[in-house]
Amino acid sequence: MLPVGSVNPLLSAASPLAKIDAPLPKMPGVHLGAAGPVPAEGFGRMLDGLVASVDAKQVEAQAITKRVLLGDSDQLHQSVIAMQEAGVSFSLMVEVRNKLIESYQELMRMQV
């Protein structure tokens, strides 16, 4: 199975979505909220971390299941629980992605 983290079109520099991370252009005389420093870690970095941790959960579940199937461990419940945890975190990731795509499409539909 292809690891989940390896397919990440959202973060490639060529993608227009990468520009979501870019700091807002500075306009003279306009202050947007608190004028703090732009955080070094953008949303894309956070999303990357989310994908990586979901992938780690899948790998962990696979490893535990493999141990059970090979007879090295008799902790059947741990295997099933790890699989369920991986499933739930994957659903969370899908939800975040859906929300992101939705907001991107909303922006694209905006009248200029």
Partner: protein, 139 residues
């Protein structure tokens, strides 16, 4: 990232009940064993549990109390004496000391372990359902 809360506790409880089931299985299997490596008839094993601090929670203060197997002890009560002179382990007066395993007691232990396991499985199932329902907010 810990999405399903309290899952570590339930996993520990499941493992503990599984150990208990294994010990019950061992007791029932050796209900007629009159010779062991240590000499004498088999003696019933008893499992006891203890709490285990799983992790400290930030918001609610106190940590969550998990469970683990504390120790497996031997039941020292005397076994039943049966008159059976043909038995190779019979004493000079023809009496054989049987293991102190009481089958009805083991069956009760078995059912208790099984039901406790089921209860913990329900907790796991509900915790997962709660997480999935929460994710359905966005739909």
């Amino acid at each position: 990232m810990n999405l399903i809360s309290g899952i570590d506790l339930s996993a520990g409880a499941l493992a503990a009940q599984k150990t208990r089931l294994d010990i019950v299985a061992q007791n029932i299997a050796n209900a007629q064993t009159t010779r062991t490596a240590k000499g004498g008839p088999y003696q019933r094993q008893v499992v006891s549990f203890e709490t285990e601090m799983v992790r400290t929670q930030g918001a609610t203060g106190g940590g969550l109390q998990g469970i683990r197997v504390a120790q497996v002890t031997t039941d020292r009560s005397p076994g039943q004496q049966v008159y059976n002179p043909q038995h190779p382990d019979a004493s000079a007066d023809g009496l054989v000391t049987m293991p102190n395993v009481n089958l009805s007691q083991e069956m009760v232990d078995l059912i208790t372990a099984s039901r406790t396991y089921e209860a913990n499985l329900s907790v796991v199932k509900n915790a997962r359902q709660m997480a999935m329902r929460t994710l359905e907010i966005g739909k």
